[in-house]
């Protein structure tokens, strides 16, 4: 009646056997379900990511996987995580939710990854959560590359951990900045007309900001042609300050078209669509970006006085083919560093549960480039909560307004916006976490 279940490798730890032998006459076999976690061997931890490598959203984002793997390779060259080397299986989802579902299924069922890390896109992640059921499977969905506020619901998404501040937080903080700095100006907004943009609308409403003209666009419809319609509406309404809450290709289309149509406004770019090198790559002349404002929770990627930026630039040179070091590369390497700490927090006997409990218990103290505090705690799966504002100079560098980073934090509800006093943990020695 009692048959001990073997592990997938047919090995059962002797200690477990000894304990089992004592209990075998009393406890159902199911209680002895000891097994190796999928994606983990004695020498390897296999992670997976879905991200657009092709398609309309690929510019910029396509740089992320190689940058993540670069940091992982650095860690691997220095002993890995408790002796295990990290590999990253990369799947192109072209920013299509249906494809993201199929590719995540491949990661889980064919590649048999231990966890998904850094999967990009609000709609994609929501589609995956519903159709692939990472939560029901108990598979960690670490540091999703989206600020959608809904992923804060740890009951609905029990294995999902957000890293970025929510878009509601971003809009709230941005809204306050607008009220303090552009009172009386005519305000315009371009936003992606899905949950990403809806979060922004909620945040601006919380902040008490009303736009004189709002221009929604359907995800994927951004183009030079559609941007002519956006700019036409803004121009007709006389908008003097325009917030752009979309992906970088949409920001690029808007800025380039505005320049072509001789429409001048104070642009404020949301963090998602504000990477300067990607904007340049999609055809935005530097002079168009100059003077625009942006928000970020990380230091500027050009800020070589920042120890994290300097360290990651070194990794980029040695392990990432010296790719252009921009915000996407910085985000990627920072995410990878967070992932390494999460895996370490999971302990030597790495399991899905141990990683997630490790994140909840100690994630708030992880080393991270972010200038915002990390808020992980029991039942709290949202990492950062703050932004600083800056202005793009003629070289396309985002420089903090006032000359120094002033980070403001808030929540996704009605909480106040406060100036952060957070002191960021120092970069671990040699950039290798020891948590």
């Amino acid at each position: 009646m009692f048959a001990l279940r073997r592990t997938k490798r047919g090995v059962l730890a002797s200690a477990t056997l000894a304990v089992s032998a004592l209990a075998i006459s009393a406890i159902p076999a199911q209680a002895f379900s000891v097994h190796a976690e999928t994606g983990v061997t004695a020498t390897q931890i296999k992670l997976g990511i879905t991200i657009p490598l092709t398609g309309s959203a690929a510019p910029g984002y396509s740089k992320i996987p190689s940058a993540m793997q670069a940091y992982f390779n650095y860690v691997n060259d220095n002993g890995g995580v408790y002796g295990r080397k990290i590999s990253l299986v990369v799947k192109d989802d072209a920013y299509l939710p249906t494809l993201a579902v199929a590719k995540t299924n491949e990661l889980i069922l064919k590649d048999k990854v231990f966890a998904v890390v850094g999967a990009l896109g609000t709609a994609n992640n929501k589609a995956v959560a519903k159709s692939v059921n990472l939560g029901r499977r108990g598979i960690p969905d670490l540091f999703v590359n989206t600020g959608y506020s809904g992923f804060a619901d740890a009951k609905k998404y029990p294995t999902t951990f957000s890293l970025f501040p929510s878009y509601i937080m971003e809009a709230k903080i941005m809204g306050q900045y607008i009220k303090e700095n552009f009172a009386g100006k005519k305000l315009g907004l371009i936003y992606q007309d899905d949950d990403f943009g809806t979060d922004a609308l909620v945040g601006f409403k919380q902040a008490g900001v009303k736009f004189d003209v709002s221009v929604p666009y359907a995800s994927g419809s951004q183009s030079a042609q559609s941007a002519q319609g956006w700019i036409g509406k803004l121009k007709a309404a006389g908008a003097e300050v325009v917030v752009m809450f979309g992906v970088t290709t949409a920001s690029g289309a808007a800025l380039a078209t505005a320049a072509a149509m001789a429409y001048k406004a104070q642009w404020i770019l949301g963090s998602v669509g504000g990477d300067a090198t990607t904007l340049k790559a999609v055809g935005v002349p530097a002079y168009v970006l100059t003077g625009a404002m942006g928000a970020s929770f990380l230091p500027a990627p050009t800020d070589t006085t920042d120890e994290y930026v300097k360290f990651f630039q070194g990794i980029n040179t040695k392990y990432n083919g010296d790719a252009v070091f921009d915000n996407n590369v910085l985000v990627a390497m920072n995410t990878a560093m967070m992932a390494v700490q999460a895996l370490r927090a999971g302990g030597k006997n790495l399991t899905h549960a141990s990683v997630m409990s490790g994140l909840e218990n100690s994630g708030s103290s992880f080393a991270s480039a972010s200038l915002s505090p990390i808020n992980y705690a029991s039942g709290v799966h949202v990492g950062y909560s703050g932004y600083w504002f800056g202005t793009y100079n003629s070289a396309g560098e985002l420089k903090p307004n006032g000359g120094a980073y002033s980070v403001y934090t808030t929540d996704s509800g009605a909480g106040a916006i406060v100036k952060s006093t957070f002191k960021r943990p120092a970069l671990p020695a040699n950039g290798l976490p020891t948590n």
């Binding site: 009646m1 092709t54 299509l96 249906t98 069922l109 709609a123 992606q192 419809s221």
Partner: protein
């Protein structure tokens, strides 16, 4: 259905079954003949259902009883797309294909199946016919020891019904592309599609509450013509977003929204898959990085998938509605309180771009609001609803080892039917485990609960849409795996029947390595235990 009939028409086995026998109030002894070491018999059950059964010389004692799917209960005039010229048929179907019949006979199994006594939705009489047919088979071949029941679509429903009502008669079951629960879920889906098509694209579509007799038949045939006509116009307008000239108030009110988005909304709110036989919703023409590739995959492909799905399910939807309404004596579906916004809450996220964004979604849902006089809702006849609900239904109880097979993107009988069965079984299994644990607490003896239900999913490939040299979608090729209604490969069908006959022989489901080997060799199948097909909207609202 046409495919199955044509397959049988060319098979040697079918030729034995095709001869017409008169209806009889009582069952006559079957007429048998032996050729090539196979004894084949034909006859009619007491309710007049024609049957066919065959047994090889090396009969192993197990009968594999097949129940065929829904057959239209009326002739369909020539000229109606896809099914024009269809004539009601009564032919017996002892297997889903000639190749599978040959395969089973070659392995020593006996096979049997009938054409049922009545066509259309006939679950009650179908279960009765199958019960009698088992007895007839056993009488003719007394060495029979076990019976495996399997069936497709409505035949899957009959199979599950047989397993629920007569578990003593069968040892294992395999409902495939099956309707599950009751006919109401399917009719609700059909009504949502037809109401959506009517409200958005052609207010002259009747869609429900068909008149009795010849008048109702004419109305149903007229609806088929209208649905196919408007689908043709929608197809022509996919790229431009133009609305059909038949659209009425919606075409004016929603003209700023591409008609393809409204079409997709109809599919999603009804529970149709956004992938179809030829449209994957993941690819487009040209290089992957081109704008045409992305925009087709994102905006056009899901709408074209719904269009193709509606085209393939429309006849069944209209005729099944007409059929059950005739049986029940009036309109059976009521959408007066249906919350279509809630229906698409999650689908709207995945398909946001194809639906043209939240603002467009809001506009379309506003038009469908019950308060809009241009979008009148449907109400049912309470007496007819009572009669419909008195038709055979499932509890979902699994009494014998059961293997259920579903196409993940089935447009006519969505995979959510099998999910419903899987969910009922999960409850049953959890309860049984609870009882076992309680017994263990009391007695110290734990008896493991054996799993008796296996869901097998036929999964579409990641990308499969084909394009011509000019970049137009090419739908001339075969349907992709996991799409369409039933349409499984013979290898897949053989795998399922292998699992079922193995379960009958051993009393338990195959598991572990042998199971994975069978599934892998069949190709295109998955037994991922964590996969969940979306339930039919009807069941989500219960």
């Amino acid at each position: 259905m046409k495919k199955k009939i044509s397959i049988l028409a060319v098979s040697a086995l079918a030729s034995l079954a095709l001869s017409v026998l008169p209806s009889a109030a009582h069952a006559d002894a079957p007429t048998c003949a032996t050729a090539n070491f196979v004894t084949s018999c034909q006859g009619a059950t007491s309710d007049g259902a024609l049957y066919a059964m065959s047994v090889p010389a090396n009969f192993n004692g197990t009968l594999v009883l097949y129940s065929h799917g829904y057959r239209y209960p009326v002739d369909i005039p020539a000229g109606i797309p896809l099914v024009g010229g269809y004539k009601v048929v009564k032919v017996a179907e002892p297997a889903p294909s000639a190749a599978v019949a040959k395969y089973l006979l070659g392995k020593g199994f006996g096979i049997a199946g009938s054409g049922f006594a009545v066509e259309g939705w006939n679950a009650d009489s179908g279960i009765k016919t199958d019960t009698e047919l088992i007895a007839t088979f056993k009488a003719q071949f007394p060495t029979t020891t076990k019976v495996v029941a399997w069936g497709s679509s409505l035949g899957g429903f009959i199979t599950q019904g047989l397993a629920e009502q007569h578990p003593d008669l069968i040892s294992a079951a395999a409902p495939m592309c099956t309707v599950a629960g009751s006919v109401e879920g399917e009719l609700t889906m059909a009504a949502d599609v037809l109401w959506g098509m009517k409200t958005f694209f052609d207010p002259t579509i009747k869609g429900h509450n068909y008149s009795a007799g010849a008048a109702g038949y004419g109305e149903a045939m007229g609806d088929l013509v209208k649905v196919f006509t408007v689908l043709g116009k929608l197809q022509a307008g996919v790229a431009s977003g133009a609305w059909p000239d038949s659209a009425g108030p919606a075409g004016t009110a929603l003209s700023a929204i591409p008609s393809r988005s409204a079409l997709l909304l109809v599919g999603l709110m009804s529970g149709l898959p956004a992938q179809s036989m030829h449209f994957d919703a993941t690819s487009g023409p040209g290089p992957k990085n081109s704008a045409s590739y992305t925009s087709f995959a994102l905006a056009a492909s899901p709408a074209l998938a719904v269009l193709e799905n509606i085209a393939n399910a429309a006849v069944l939807g209209v005729l099944a509605t007409y059929d059950v309404e005739q049986q029940a004596g009036g309109a059976v579906i009521d959408n007066s309180k249906t919350d279509y916004a809630a229906r698409i809450e999650s689908e709207a996220v995945s398909n946001n771009a194809a639906l043209s964004g939240n603002t467009a979604i809001g506009g379309m849902l506003s038009f469908l609001n019950p308060a809009n006089p241009a979008a009148p809702r449907w109400t049912a006849d309470p007496a007819a609803v009572i009669k419909m609900r008195a038709l055979a239904s499932h509890t979902g109880k699994i009494n014998v080892p059961t293997i259920a097979l579903a196409n993940v993107a089935d447009p006519a009988v969505p995979a959510g039917n099998v999910q419903w069965l899987a969910d009922r079984y999960a409850e049953q299994y959890a309860h049984a485990k609870g009882v076992a644990m309680a017994t263990f607490s009391k007695t110290g003896t734990y008896t493991a609960v054996r799993k008796s239900f296996l869901a097998v999913w036929s999964v579409p490939p990641t990308t499969y849409t084909k394009f011509t040299n000019t970049g137009a979608p090419d739908t001339s090729g075969p349907a992709a795996n996991g799409t369409g209604h039933c349409g499984y490969t013979d290898k897949q069908l053989m795998a399922i029947v292998d699992l079922a006959t193995n379960a009958a022989a051993t009393g338990k489901l195959m598991s572990g390595g042998p199971l994975y080997t069978v599934i892998r060799k069949a190709g295109g199948l998955s037994i991922d235990p964590e996969f969940r097909a979306p339930l039919l909207k009807f069941y989500n609202e219960q």
